[in-house]
C-alpha cells in the first residue's frame, strides 16, 4: 500500500480519487434504485462487493424487478461482464499482483482500474495505479450502494445532476492520449460504430465485444502508413 503512494504522482492519485468519487455517486443511485425496486438492502450490498461491476448489477436488478428469472438476469449480467476476459489478457503480468495476491487483485479488475493501469508508462506505475483505483472502487461502490439504499428515494433521480455522463467522460478522458494517433483513432471509431450499430439488435454487452473486430484495422502492415520507424510504431499501439 505504501508503495502505491510513493510510486504514483499526486495528479494521478487525484484523478483516481475523483473517479472513485464518481463511482460513489453512481453507487448511491444503484443502492437507491435496488431498494426502490423492492430488494432488501443486503442484495445491492452483497452484489456490490462480490460482483463489483456496476452495469451488470444494474441490469440484474432491472431484470429481476421486471419479473424476469434471476438466473436469466445473471446470464445477461455475465454477457455484460465478458469484456473482463480481454481486459485480463491486455493487462501485463504482475499488474494484478503475484501468486496469491493475484487472486485478490484479479477481483478489483474493472473498467476504471484497467484504464488507469493502461494509462501509466511503466509496469510499476501500472501496478500501483491498478491497485489504487481497484481498491478505491472496492470501497466506494459498495459504500455508495449501502448509503444509497439507506437514504433511498432521496437520491433516486441522479440523472438530474448529469451523473450518468460522468462514467463515459472518465473513460474517454483516460484514453484520449491513445486516440491522438490517427490509426488508433480510426480503429477506436470503427469499434465504437460497430458497437452502436449492433446495440438495437443484440443483448447488452455483446455490442462492445463485437467492437474488438476493429483490431483488424491495426493488423495491416504499417508500411501502408508511410513506413513508421519502430519508435513510431510503438506510439501507434501504446
Amino acid at each position: 500500500m505504501r508503495s502505491i503512494w510513493r510510486t504514483l504522482d499526486r495528479r494521478v492519485l487525484a484523478d483516481i480519487g475523483l473517479t472513485c468519487l464518481a463511482v460513489f455517486f453512481i453507487g448511491l443511485s444503484y443502492g437507491a434504485v435496488a431498494v426502490a425496486s423492492g430488494f432488501p438492502l443486503w442484495v445491492p450490498a452483497a452484489q456490490s462487493v462480490l460482483v463489483l461491476a456496476g452495469a451488470s448489477e444494474f441490469l440484474f436488478i432491472g431484470i429481476v424487478a421486471a419479473g424476469g428469472s434471476p438466473i436469466a438476469a445473471a446470464l445477461a449480467g455475465l454477457l455484460v461482464n465478458s469484456r473482463h476476459l480481454p481486459y485480463g489478457v491486455a493487462l501485463p503480468p504482475g499488474v494484478t499482483g503475484r501468486r496469491w495476491g493475484r487472486l485478490a487483485g484479479t477481483h478489483v479488475m474493472n473498467d476504471e482500474s484497467v484504464v488507469f493501469a493502461l494509462a501509466q508508462p511503466d509496469p510499476e506505475r501500472k501496478r500501483a495505479a491498478y491497485w489504487a483505483c481497484g481498491l478505491g472502487v472496492l470501497a466506494c461502490w459498495p459504500g455508495g450502494a449501502v448509503i444509497g439504499g439507506l437514504i433511498g428515494s432521496a437520491v433516486h433521480d441522479t440523472s438530474a445532476f448529469g451523473l450518468d455522463a460522468m462514467f463515459p467522460a472518465v473513460i474517454l478522458a483516460l484514453i484520449v492520449k491513445d486516440l491522438r494517433d490517427a490509426r488508433m483513432l480510426r480503429a477506436a471509431l470503427a469499434g465504437a460504430a460497430i458497437a452502436l450499430a449492433a446495440t438495437p439488435f443484440l443483448p447488452a454487452g455483446l455490442p462492445v465485444l463485437l467492437a474488438l473486430a476493429a483490431v483488424l484495422l491495426l493488423l495491416r502492415a504499417p508500411a501502408t502508413e508511410a513506413s513508421p520507424s519502430p519508435d513510431e510504431e510503438l506510439a501507434v499501439l501504446r
Binding site: 445473471a74 455475465l78 491486455a90 484479479t106 460522468m166 463515459p168 460504430a193 446495440t199 501504446r238
Partner: protein
C-alpha cells in the same frame, strides 16, 4: 422463500462467473508469451473496447437512443480532454453540461 433462494443463486452465478472472466484472461496471459507487437495489439484492443464502452454508455440506453443531454455532456468532455484540460474539469463538465441541458428541458 424459493424466490429469494433463486435470487441468491442468480447473485452467486453472476459473482462467480464474473470472477471467472477476470481470472481466465489473466491466466491466459500468464501462460502464453506474446511477442512485443502482439502485446501492443492487446493494449490497443483494450482501448477499442473502452472506446466502444464510451460510445454505448454515452449514446444508448437499453436498445435505444439515450437522448441528447448525456452525449452532449460527454462530447464537451471529449473536446476538453483533447485540449488537455485537467481531468477534474473534464469529468465535472460532462455532468454539468448534461444537468444544465436537462434543466433546460432537453432530455
Amino acid at each position: 422463500m424459493t424466490e429469494s433462494t433463486l435470487v441468491v443463486a442468480g447473485m452467486a452465478t453472476l459473482a462467480a462467473g464474473t470472477y471467472a472472466f477476470r481470472l481466465s484472461g489473466q491466466l491466459l496471459r500468464a501462460r502464453i508469451t506474446f511477442p512485443p507487437r502482439a502485446t501492443r495489439l492487446l493494449e490497443a484492443a483494450a482501448v477499442i473496447l473502452l472506446a466502444a464502452l464510451v460510445a454505448t454508455t454515452a449514446l444508448t440506453e437499453g436498445h435505444g437512443f439515450s437522448g441528447f443531454a448525456r452525449p452532449a455532456g460527454v462530447l464537451v468532455a471529449g473536446i476538453l480532454a483533447w485540449r488537455k484540460a485537467p481531468f477534474l474539469v473534464v469529468v465535472l463538465a460532462a455532468a454539468a453540461v448534461t444537468a444544465l441541458l436537462r434543466l433546460l428541458g432537453v432530455s
